[in-house]
């Protein structure tokens, strides 16, 4: 099996999953497809560095996150990196989601600050472990836990949960 065939057999089946995350990251199909294409191109070039037997979906997400970060850097903006440790101040619930009456889960997710949204998407939509998410984002596990917690708390609030 050539390298190309191995890559197609192992990585390409995750195209939809990567697109799903890319879509939640960028918020629109056009940018999401560009992110996916660039991600797979870079992954293909770096395929020798992938350790067989490890979670290739996590590895692809690591590349996707880098592609996304680079795209941000190019556009001279930076992704929101809201860091709230422990009992930090509460972030107000996303207004869009509230306006939607807490019904629209997708809108509530899209309205989350990027740092929280990505952590929640990787955990709850992609089912990556905390260790894998820490690897993807390049942050400590404690930060992953904190971001998922804050993200979910915001979603629960936006969706009219009993408490924050």
């Amino acid at each position: 099996m050539t390298r190309e065939q191995r890559f197609e057999a192992e990585a390409l089946p995750h195209l939809k999953a990567i697109y799903g995350t890319a879509y939640r990251m960028s918020g629109n199909p056009h940018d999401a497809e560009d992110l996916v294409q660039e991600t797979f191109l870079r992954a293909y070039r770096a395929f020798d560095r992938y350790t067989p037997g490890t979670n290739i979906r996590a590895w692809l997400h690591t590349i996707l996150y880098r592609v996304r970060t680079d795209a941000f850097r190019r556009s001279r903006r930076s992704p929101q990196t809201v860091e709230l440790a422990g009992d930090g101040p509460a972030v107000p619930p996303p207004q869009d989601a509230l306006a939607a009456g807490g019904e629209d889960l997708a809108r509530a997710v899209d309205a989350l600050p990027e740092a929280f949204r990505v952590a929640v998407v990787l955990r709850d939509l992609q089912d990556l472990t905390y260790e894998e998410i820490a690897g993807v984002l390049g942050v400590p596990i404690g930060t992953v836990m904190s971001r998922i917690h804050r993200g979910r708390a915001l979603l629960r609030a936006a969706l009219g949960g009993r408490k924050r």
Partner: protein, 242 residues
Amino acid sequence: MSCDAERVTAYVDEALAPAERAEVEAHLAGCRECRDQADEERDLRGRLRALAAPPPSPQLEARVRRSLRPRPGAARWLLPLAAGLVVLVAWGRGASPFVAWELSRDHDHCFGQRRLPARVWSSDPSRISAWLEGQGTTVPVIPDGAAGLELVGARYCTLLDRTVAHLYYTGGDKHLSLFVVPGPVRSTSREMRPRGNFVRLMRVGGTEVGLVSEEEESVDAFERALSTTVAREAGTSFAAAR
């Protein structure tokens, strides 16, 4: 254990070590608020898992596959070939016969015009030198003339990949061009006759200079003028340094 909302999140995600997990479980048994949080997070997790992004366009996979092999077939040998050509051209441009031919062509071009296309007109080497230095070109020495030819002016000429200072000398129906060529010139030969002109390339005080004329005597005379002046100046500065 007191309420620790983040640990409850990690508990829901089964991300805790067994000991910690047992601790949280014990806490949940007696804390309604944390139990509610855990239940809500489980519920949310279930709903999120079902949250599907709209499917990508059907062309995406084909687009990705295409991008993995952007240069099929011919490109395998076309790319190295193109790279080879680039190297060859880059090498060729710096080779003296090529430079000589270009200088000769420019000499004919400028002197072939009804009026010399000089940008600065002067027979005073210091004025020409000051003008060139203002444009970023340092010329170690500018002869005011030799063999009946006199300095009349100068301009910059673009020869393929370089911008070359071109100094004009005339005398009767004779012409001579003195070029200051930036960048290295790989020497395969120093005396050439491209396009019927006499061309000589030489290094003067660390600068590559090209002389072009229809008359060999003119080129000889300027070469002597340049070398003796440089030698004299080098001697002066050597003496001064002592």
